[in-house]
């Protein structure tokens, strides 16, 4: 699940080498994932009114569903 987030986010930002995706916690069927990007790249993964973040979460959900998990994806810099 971290892999799909890495593939998408690295393709969107100016500094792909600074992208870090980590699983913060996992409780029951819920996984909390954190996507860290360079400070100047945060807008590139969130977008106007969160439109890009919404799209990233939708695709990540496919990966989560396959493992019968619910993913909570947070973007930070």
């Amino acid at each position: 699940m971290t892999e799909v987030l890495e593939v998408i986010v690295e393709a969107l930002v100016d500094h792909p080498e600074q992208v870090r995706v980590t699983e913060v916690s996992r409780q029951g069927g819920n996984v909390h994932l954190e996507v860290q990007v360079a400070p100047g790249d945060l807008g590139k993964v969130i977008g106007k009114s969160g439109r890009i973040a919404h799209a990233i979460r939708a695709v990540a959900r496919v990966a989560a569903n396959r493992q019968h998990l619910r993913a909570m994806v947070e973007f930070v810099s």
């Binding site: 890495e6 998408i8 393709a11 969107l12 799209a55 695709v59 959900r61 496919v62 990966a63 396959r66």
Partner: protein, 168 residues
């Protein structure tokens, strides 16, 4: 230079890395990372848009409810492609013929609702749709003699209204 190298260079010269290739490679990387057993096929339509078609046993998994996931991945692929190619690329992502089936369903819905509008002489509205799908409705009824269409509201709640056409 060896013969193989020379041939590779030749191939590259004949087939440049197009915006369509950028999109297709990105989508394939995403499918592999999920992972889904699916492959992309790339073609360019007559009007210059790139069509990336996802096919294979698990291609349907990427569609989502009402095509929500497919639209999200299409949006991301457009961002990546425009960014890498530095130009605006028209991109359509499809999976197992979903767009065609969805288009037919939307046109059917538009025609059914248009008949209702004519029967009652009252406006009627469709469920909220994205810009791409609203355009399918507008186009389907563009030349209709008895109804006209317009959109109302803000995304993501923007919807098409079908209204009786005022007599000319």
């Amino acid at each position: 230079m060896g013969q193989v190298e020379a041939e590779q260079q030749n191939t590259e010269a004949e087939e440049p890395y197009t915006p369509g290739d950028v999109a297709a490679d990105f989508v394939q990387d995403v499918l592999d990372a999920i992972p889904l057993d699916a492959e992309v096929e790339l073609e360019q339509t007559a009007d210059g848009a790139w069509l990336v078609d996802v096919v294979g046993p698990e291609a349907g998994e990427i569609i989502g409810r009402y095509g929500n996931t497919l639209n999200s991945l299409q949006y991301l692929a457009s961002l990546v492609t425009n960014r890498r190619s530095g130009e605006h690329t028209r991109l359509v992502l499809d999976a197992n013929g979903y767009r065609e089936r969805r288009r037919n369903a939307l046109v059917d819905q538009a025609l059914t609702l248009a008949a209702e509008v004519i029967r009652t002489s009252q406006e009627a509205e469709l469920d909220p749709l994205g810009a791409f799908e609203r355009r399918i409705i507008h186009n389907a009824l563009a030349n209709h003699p008895q109804v006209t269409t317009y959109s109302e509201g803000e995304d993501p709640d923007r919807r098409v209204i079908i209204a009786p056409r005022p007599p000319a």
